[in-house]
Symmetry: C3
Subunit: 141 residues, 3 copies
């Protein structure tokens, strides 16, 4: 087997900051120098998530609005148990991250990620403050 | 390492068309001829998703209804920024696809996918028109 | 290639029972004895899901409340088609499982899972009765 790895370190603003990781992942794929492979992307931490989207200002705004509506910062009634029990403020961030999930796999075909034309790999940091995030990229060829 | 790959090409109707991919994935697994492996399934494009479900008419109808309610085609107030900024109509499709995600991994055990008895691998095409979709199946053994 | 596998068997209570799998996955990683690898985790069945979260009582309660609100056991109007067509009661469990998904990949770095400090791997069993679940852990190194 050959396992190639890369680590992307990102400074986020938190508060559902969406960051396009595609260029960083492409660099790890290029460094691996493989034609066909499976590429896994993972973010450590329980308040951030990885998914794909068309990374453009409208889509980014819509995704943030959607998650604010589905999983509001403050629930309509009562309070989040995570915040109450732990004297914390980021329960919404935990919930959003669990819903979307921290991992993704993308094929590498003829040396390139098999993403759609308008499809980018993104990190979403839901935490309520700026964070340094480590994203692991692993290429199995 | 051995990496076996297969490509499933599907003509969808869009509009949250749910297609059972299991038989196609099983064919790729069989062609690989491996006993134990990790099988990755990925759809290219930012308006389609991959997940698993019991593929039967009731469950398919419920999933479509759920996503129409959680991420409506037209928001209750205002408009999606993606549609406004890009003169487009499929913002809801982008959002639903990002929520569910484009990838899945399933184990191969003694030559067979380790799915539950009532668990199928499905592609959901959320776009607002028929599309040709390419689903990559990769077997690492 | 080296593919190491482990099977975790769990008795759940159903009804959105959240079980921390991290220790079980760590045991499979340790038994594999590899430094760098991709670890895939998958649950068989269409009414259970795998994700990550900070596994503490508040977060567990919040996640259960969130999913009860987003995907209620009984819809506000009408009934779930899955239940009506199949004389069943667990349509909500199917929907929640499809939304979150049955699989996850986590990197192994210097012999350890690259999880965040407060990030655990969890199984959520959404079914409406106790179940025995099999979780497949696969290590590709």
């Amino acid at each position: 087997v050959s396992l190639h790895t890369g680590l992307l370190t990102l400074e986020t603003e938190g508060s559902a900051h969406v960051i396009d990781l595609t260029e960083g992942v492409v660099r790890v794929v290029a460094a691996a120098g493989v034609a066909h492979a499976v590429c896994s992307v993972f973010v450590g931490g329980s308040t951030a998530a990885i998914t794909t989207m068309e990374y453009e200002p409208g889509g980014v705004a819509d995704l943030r609005t959607l998650l604010s509506r589905l999983v509001p910062e403050v629930p309509e009634a009562g309070a989040y148990a995570h915040n109450t029990l732990n004297r914390d403020d980021n329960a919404h961030a935990h919930l959003r991250a669990s819903l979307i999930g921290p991992s993704l796999t993308v094929p590498v075909v003829r040396g390139e990620l098999a993403l759609g034309t308008w499809q980018q790999i993104v990190l979403i940091d839901f935490d309520d403050r700026p964070r340094r995030r480590e994203v692991h990229v692993q290429i199995v060829a």
